[in-house]
Amino acid sequence: MKKFFFSIVFIATAIFFADMGPARDFTSLNEAFRNIRSVKAGFLQKRSLPILTKPLLSEGKLFLSMPDSLRWEYLSPLRSVMLRKGNNIQIYNFSDGVWKPEMAQAVEARRMVLGEISHWFQGRFDESTAFKHFYSPGPPERVTLVPKEGIDKFINRIEIVLSVRPGVIDRVEIEEPGGSRTSIEFKNVEINLSLPSEVFEKP
């Protein structure tokens, strides 16, 4: 389940930063995000579950540097950060005024995740064994990911909705069986910044 979340993050960010003219088809969209070197953005995540009267809101920051560095950080309600640089993955939780490493099992779970998504990250959607993709020119322009057999126990569909701003994503919607869903809205997006390597190494 987690791997799909991070897959979406990568896909979203990959498309997101495609600083080019409006993509007119999936191939051009796919090509565009290959030109992106780095991304910095904030996000608001809304988690809806049947048990919850109101969605659970989380805020965070995203840093991405090609080809394989990621910092996915939650600022509230929990402070938690996942760092990936190459094959090295670290997860820390902020507690008692210090960053504490997450237990090993949780780190390993993310390692598998990030291996799976590296294909997508580079725009190689056709190589995904988990999802079929469908591009729609819109408006709004969007990419819909439909899980293949086995994965559909966890996810019904994923929708990546692009804004009118060329190549920028408005949000990602993940629908799960049973009425649960996650919405991630991106904001304050900056691309091709120079990001120091320690962003991906230290909490």
């Binding site: 048990i51 659970l56 309600p77 929990l78 507690s95 504490k100 997450e102 099992q105 649960s180 996650t182």
Partner: protein, 217 residues
């Protein structure tokens, strides 16, 4: 002189060890007055509730941050508990009713029956009073309530405190040893404590620090 000093140190060491192993203080009570009895239930939700907690769990030298959602119906002694990662993924989802536990989803390492039983027991301790009436209770002159239940499995539950201070829940095994300790601190939102410090001593020690994020109604 040196021999005496050595003996003193030995006694001191023995004393420290003795204190460390002793059961915590047990208050001997008599049946209280009926008008004080509702005070024994002050920390437990009286109406249907929904709570979201930030959870910092520590066990065996490792720590983990989670989100816990609990929705309950006290009159039917049933509740549903969901554990989520910070990203919002459901790791564990179970419902507890009078007739048993139903696990809807459990992801490793939260997929063992022992974990499910332990979690349900922990949540019950936090949100539901024991099913029977307390055997003894007392309201002290400063307003502090002290209540004690004898449970069917020969364990005991004790609560001590008041709404303007903090509350402590103790669970003792049949030998009187404290197996679980909970400290609930205000302010209380819809009857739910803002902060919960939970420590389990037996069989495996772990601790949970819970901070209330959302509460309904």
């Amino acid at each position: 002189m040196i021999r005496r000093k050595g003996l003193d140190l030995c006694l001191l060491g023995f004393l420290i060890l003795s204190i460390g192993c002793a059961p915590k203080f047990k208050t001997t009570l008599r049946p209280g007055s009926p008008e004080d009895l509702p005070g024994c239930y002050a920390i437990f939700p009286a109406e249907p509730w929904e709570s979201v907690h930030k959870i910092e769990a520590t066990f065996g030298g490792s720590s983990s941050s989670l989100i816990g959602v609990t929705k309950g119906e006290p009159s039917e002694r049933k509740f549903q508990s969901v554990l989520l990662t910070p990203e919002g993924f459901v790791l564990f989802d179970a419902e507890c009713r009078v007739n048993g536990i139903s696990v809807r989803k459990a992801v490793a390492p939260f997929d063992s029956p022992a974990f499910a039983r332990g979690l349900i027991d922990d949540v019950s301790l936090l949100f539901l009073p024991p099913a029977a009436k307390p055997t003894t209770w007392l309201k002290e002159t400063n307003g502090t309530m002290i209540c004690k239940w004898e449970n069917p499995d020969n364990s005991q539950t004790e609560i001590t405190g008041s709404m303007d201070r903090s509350w402590r829940i103790l669970r003792r095994d049949k030998y009187g040893e404290v197996t679980k300790e909970v400290v609930l601190s205000g302010p209380f939102l819809n009857g739910l404590a803002s902060r919960i410090e939970y420590r389990a001593f037996k069989p495996a020690p772990y601790s949970l620090r819970m901070t209330l994020i959302q509460a309904f109604p």
